[in-house]
């Protein structure tokens, strides 16, 4: 019995998977692995900054490490969040036009929010 569903001819001439099509699944995992340490770092930072004034926040982001980690956190969060919301929209919005519109609005909103967040971090990092 063959251990594969693919035909011997298909294997011989290299037909079959285009090695694509799992990007969504794969990048959801990559971004989630990145977000495990990033989100724990974020929680610890928020705890340390509880009730802080702006000067304290600016002094904190003056250091390259928190500034870069914060930018990466925002990028990974919105990327991961957009991938997740995409699946939710695809699952629950049945009308094709509404689905497309919802996906476009969601993705553009994710870009807008990520850009606002990253620019704000950079402004705080460079202002001092």
């Amino acid at each position: 019995m063959r251990s594969s569903l693919r035909s011997p001819l298909g294997r011989a001439i290299g037909l079959g998977s285009a090695k694509e099509g799992v990007e969504h699944w794969w990048w959801q995992r990559i971004s989630s692995i990145a977000l495990v340490p990033l989100s724990l770092w974020f929680v610890i930072s928020v705890i340390r900054l509880a009730g802080a004034d702006l000067e304290t926040v600016v002094n904190w982001l003056d250091n390259p490490v928190p500034a870069v980690l914060f930018v990466l956190l925002i990028a990974a969060t919105f990327y991961h969040g957009a991938l997740g919301l995409q699946v939710v929209i695809e699952d629950y919005v049945e009308n094709e036009s509404a689905k497309l519109a919802a996906l476009i609005v969601m993705k553009l909103a994710a870009f807008l929010l990520a850009a606002l967040g990253i620019f704000s971090v950079l402004k705080l990092a460079f202002v001092s």
Partner: protein
């Protein structure tokens, strides 16, 4: 989708909930809530970048009862999604997929969420000076 009027699966009126399905839907619910909650984070950052006055207003709102409630909900959702996300990554290796393991890791996720939330809020309130 104009298809036959077939019953919805799972049949929600008679469906018996179990830990596995509840944790699964909670992963999606907390994921959506966290993504929507990032608006709060971006608003805080933009307020800080706008200057001391708007930053004071943002800090004041986050320290108000409504702000603290939002932060508490956001922290629970984050810790749950983080713990259950690690459970998913573990499953992706092909491990822990038998029924006893799935239940054990499910209870571990709930315990981890509770412990992380309590520890974070004790530390956060202490740092805030309460």
């Amino acid at each position: 989708m104009a298809s036959d009027p077939r019953p919805l699966s799972p049949h929600l009126q008679v469906y018996r909930w179990q830990l596995t399905s509840v944790l699964s839907i909670l992963h999606r619910v907390t994921g959506v809530a966290l993504t929507v909650g990032t608006i709060l984070l971006v608003w805080w950052l933009v307020s800080a970048a706008n200057g001391p006055d708007s930053f004071e207003a943002a800090q004041g709102f986050l320290g108000s009862p409504i702000g603290l409630l939002l932060l508490f909900g956001w922290s629970v959702a984050l810790f749950y999604h983080l713990c259950n996300g690690i459970r998913h990554l573990w499953w992706d290796t092909g491990s822990g997929l038998d029924l006893p393991s799935v239940y054990a890791s499910g209870w571990a996720v709930l315990a981890g969420t509770a412990i992380l939330t309590i520890v974070a809020w004790i530390a956060g309130l202490a740092s805030w000076g309460l």
